[in-house]
Every structure is written in C-alpha cells, then in structure tokens.
C-alpha cells in the first residue's frame, strides 16, 4: 500500500508497510499513481499512451521510470505487502506487564474550565485527594506488575496535582528509594494548570520530573475564555509568569506548553505563535475532546480551516527554523530513522494493558479518559485486575482491530487511534473516531513534509 500527496511544492510517496518515504517529480508521481491504480503490467502501455504528445517525455524516460519503480519494489521500498497482519494479535500479546500509571492525585481543581473532560477535576464523581499510602501502594503495584521492564512512567495528574503537592513529593521520594533494588528507572511527569507553581515546586519539578506539561491555551483572551477561577476570573495573568519562571530555570529538560483549541479559536495558529513569542519552544495544541453536540465542539465545517492552520503552522515553523529561532510542535515531532518499531506501531498507547489510571481511592481504569466509567473499572491496586473482560478487550485493540482501518495508509502512524476517543464518539473502543482520523492524517502529512524541507534546509547550509 502507498499514500501519495502534494504539499508545499513537494510530491511525497509513502510506502506504508516498509515505512519508506520518496520525494518524486511530477512524472514519477504520475507513474507511481498509475502503477498503483492500474497495476504494473499495464504501466508501459498506459504511460506511453498518456505521454505520446509530450515533447519533454521520451520513450526512454518512460522505460527509466518503470525500471526505477521495479527496482524500488524489488528493494522492498515501494508497493510492499503487509507482512505484519498475521502477527498483529500475537504482537499485542507480547508484553502484558504494566509500565505506566497516571496517578490521579487530586480529583479537584482550582480552575473551572468548562471544556474539561475531567469535569472540573472530579470526573463526574466525588472530590478527593489521594493519600500518600495509596500513592505508595500504587508504586508498589507498578513495580510488582512491571516484569523485566526497566523504565517505568508515572504521571501526576488530576484535577490539579499541585493541590496535593506534599503527597506528590512523598510518592516521588518513595519511588526513588526503591527503584535501585528493583532495577527500575522511574520517569515522572506532572500535568499542571500552573496556578500553584512557586519556587519550591519549580526546584522539585526541575530536579525530579522528566517532563512537565503546562496548560496554556495561547492568547490571553483565548486562554481566559475557558480557563477561569471559581470566581470567574481568567487565569492567564496568574499562570504565564509562573510558567516562564519554571521554563527559564528548567534548562534543557523537556516540557510541553500544552493548549486546547475549540470551535471558538479555529485560528489556533495565532495561539501557538503567541506561545512561541512568549519564549516557549516546546509546544502542543490539542483539539478539544468533548461529547458531540456540546458547545464549542469541533465539527466537519471547521475542518478546512483547521487543515489550513496545520499547513500554515508547518510553514511558519520552517521559516523560524531557518531564521534560527525554532520551536517544536508535539504532533510534528517524527523520528524517521530512530522512531518506533513495528511492535509499537501496531500496539499503540497501551491503555488498559501496560498503561492504567489510578483514582485517589486506588481504583484502576484503562486510562485517564475512562475514569469513573463503571463499565471500565478494571480493579484496584490492592487486588489487581478484576475486570479481565475489559482487559482482554483492550489487549486485542490494535491497529488491525478495526475493519475501517484496513485501507488506511496512516494506521502504522496512529496505531489504531485513541480508544477513549473511539468510545466517546461511537460507544465502542473498537469504533473509529473519524474526525480525529482526519486531523491525525493531516498532521502526519505535515510532519513528514517538514522533515523533507528540513533536510533541504540543512543541505543548503552545507
């Protein structure tokens, strides 16, 4: 299977099952398209007929391009067959150890963002803070269930995790105290709205957290539209100076300035640029996740504008890179040579199998987006996985699980998509959230185009 597209003056051909990427001229683009549509056998005849009146294309050109197509096919870089499908479900079985937890240390929040999928932090349930004992038991559970895996991830999430800061620190200290004896390496992350960031939080995070995710929606008027305190005051002026201080002191360590865009700011490129102009260089901007029909949700009619924003973003990033003031965008980070292996590409995020969310009470859910959904309560950190039916459903949820994905070129980039998005959009974790697919495919096309353009920029500099 191949995928062809034209973007920013590049003709790009992706060979889905080898992962190969080709940049081609118009003539080769046409020949490859014809070969894909009509088959290799008919190619000489069809190409000769189509190009017979073109003075710039000779019979020799046609022979040559067909030879090139044959050679790439022989090398396994074009029109490669799917050799992975037969193993797909076995691959998913390979690792069933748990390696990542999302600890909901606070089911409460000091902001009242109306678009929040966590419903202002309590996930439609009771407000609560995780105790240190529960947090430590979650760490023990993770270590015990992680088998031979060395790298273990723990994200402090909420609600707002800084509302339970002392417990966050205690859990980190406990995990550090036991990691060597168990031959583990904990990687902590923290997702925060920034309201309670102070010097002590900054020092601790910059020492212990591999990554911090800082919620900022962009321009002041955009951020303040949804991200308000309980008194209705926008939080922009309170959080931006705190984020700046944290990032300034963080040095080279990773962080993400993460925004959400809604129907109210489909011109979200301005918000990304705003973040970059504030001096932040590691950026992420996500489409809002809310149930269909809710206010400010994204609809089909927004798609052309969103696509345009993604394309413009790519071009602006390339311009700034050339000018020596680059920034990164989470969805455009793609490592073509050192990226994920086929196992990862098939098995995806690992929700419900190697990744789980833990509530303040120690209950387990497949991921943070399923929390408090009784159907998907998996068990708890003391007794383990009790809902084996749900676990097995997630085990088989991979990039080959959905018939709709069968002809999709992007399935080894998205690995089948987000189960939570599928569930909320279709009622089944094996459904397809088509809207998300459209956005995802556009972002991957932009990301690959950027890699090609960056290589060209680097060649020009040599």
């Amino acid at each position: 299977m191949i995928h062809q597209y034209k973007l920013n003056r590049y003709n790009i051909v992706l060979d889905v099952f080898s992962g190969a990427i080709h940049i081609v001229d118009d003539f080769a683009y046409d020949a490859i398209e014809m070969c894909d549509r009509e088959g290799r056998d008919r190619l000489p005849e069809l190409m000769t007929r189509k190009y017979k009146d073109r003075e710039d294309i000779t019979g020799e050109d046609i022979d040559l391009i067909i030879r090139d197509i044959d050679e790439l096919t022989r090398q396994g870089k074009l029109f490669t067959e799917d050799i992975f499908e037969v193993n797909a479900f076995d691959l998913k079985e390979r690792h069933t150890e748990i390696k990542a937890l999302c600890l909901h240390v606070a089911h409460t929040c000091n902001l009242t963002c109306s678009y929040c999928f966590a419903r202002q932090g309590n996930f439609c349930g009771e407000e609560a803070l995780m105790s240190a004992e529960t947090g430590k038991a979650a760490i023990d559970f993770l270590v015990a269930r992680s088998g031979e895996r060395h790298n273990l991830e723990v994200d402090f999430f909420g609600g707002e995790p800084l509302l339970n800061w002392d417990v966050v620190k205690e859990i980190v200290r406990y995990a550090r105290s036991i990691e060597k004896e168990h031959n583990k390496n904990f990687r902590f992350t923290l997702t925060t709205n920034g309201m309670n960031i102070d010097d002590e939080v900054i020092d601790f995070c910059n020492r212990e957290m591999q990554n911090v995710v800082l919620s900022l929606d962009g321009r002041k008027e955009v951020h303040d539209r949804f991200r308000k305190t309980s008194s209705g005051k926008g939080s922009y002026d309170m959080v931006v100076p705190r984020f700046k201080k944290l990032v300034e002191r963080r040095g080279d360590r990773d962080y993400y300035m993460r925004g959400t865009f809604t129907a109210a700011n489909t011109d979200f490129l301005k918000d990304i640029i705003h973040m970059a102009d504030l001096g932040f260089t590691q950026l992420s901007m996500e489409p809002v996740v809310i149930r269909p029909g809710e206010p400010n949700g994204l609809t089909e009619e927004h798609l052309p504008e969103i696509f345009r924003q993604y394309e413009e973003l790519a071009l602006e990033m390339l311009r700034r890179r050339k000018e020596g003031r680059p920034f990164t965008f989470y969805h455009y980070m793609i490592d073509l040579t050192g990226g994920p292996c086929i196992y990862k590409r098939i098995s995806g995020c690992g929700a419900g199998t190697e990744y789980m969310a833990v509530t303040p009470w120690g209950d387990l859910y497949p991921c943070h987006q399923f929390v408090n959904d009784p159907e998907y309560k998996m068990g708890n950190i003391y007794e383990g996985i009790l809902n084996t039916e749900a676990r097995d459903e997630f085990k088989l949820c991979n990039s080959y699980a959905r018939p709709e994905c069968r002809d999709c070129w992007a399935r080894l980039y998205c690995s089948g998509g987000c189960s939570a998005n599928s569930y909320h959009a279709t009622g089944s974790i094996k459904g397809v959230y088509e809207y998300g697919c459209k956005l995802f495919k556009k972002r991957i096309e932009c990301a690959i185009m950027m890699k090609i353009a960056e290589m060209e920029q680097d060649t020009e500099l040599e």
Partner: protein, 48 residues
C-alpha cells in the same frame, strides 16, 4: 534515480526482528493526553 529520491527511514520489516523491547514511552502520557499517535515516539533501543 533522477526522478525519485528516497529518504532514510527505519525499516519496519527489520524491526520485526530487532524491536519489541517495550521500554519506550507510553504514547499519550507525556503531552497530549487526548490522542494516540506513535510517530513521535523515540525508540529506546541502541541497536536498531
């Protein structure tokens, strides 16, 4: 090849043999929390 330039990418078929260690990051854990893409994940293996 005059009209086709192939850029270097990881060979997925080869990764069937040398991949699958499971040490890489959980996809949506670090930043987005609302989607699942693996393209931006780094491989942790030294001998890819």
């Amino acid at each position: 090849m005059e009209r086709i330039k192939t850029i270097e990418t990881r060979d997925l078929a080869k990764s069937l043999q040398n991949g699958g260690c499971g040490e890489c990051q959980t996809s949506c854990q670090s930043a987005c929390k609302t989607s699942c893409g693996v393209a931006n994940q780094k491989c942790e293996k030294a001998d890819k």
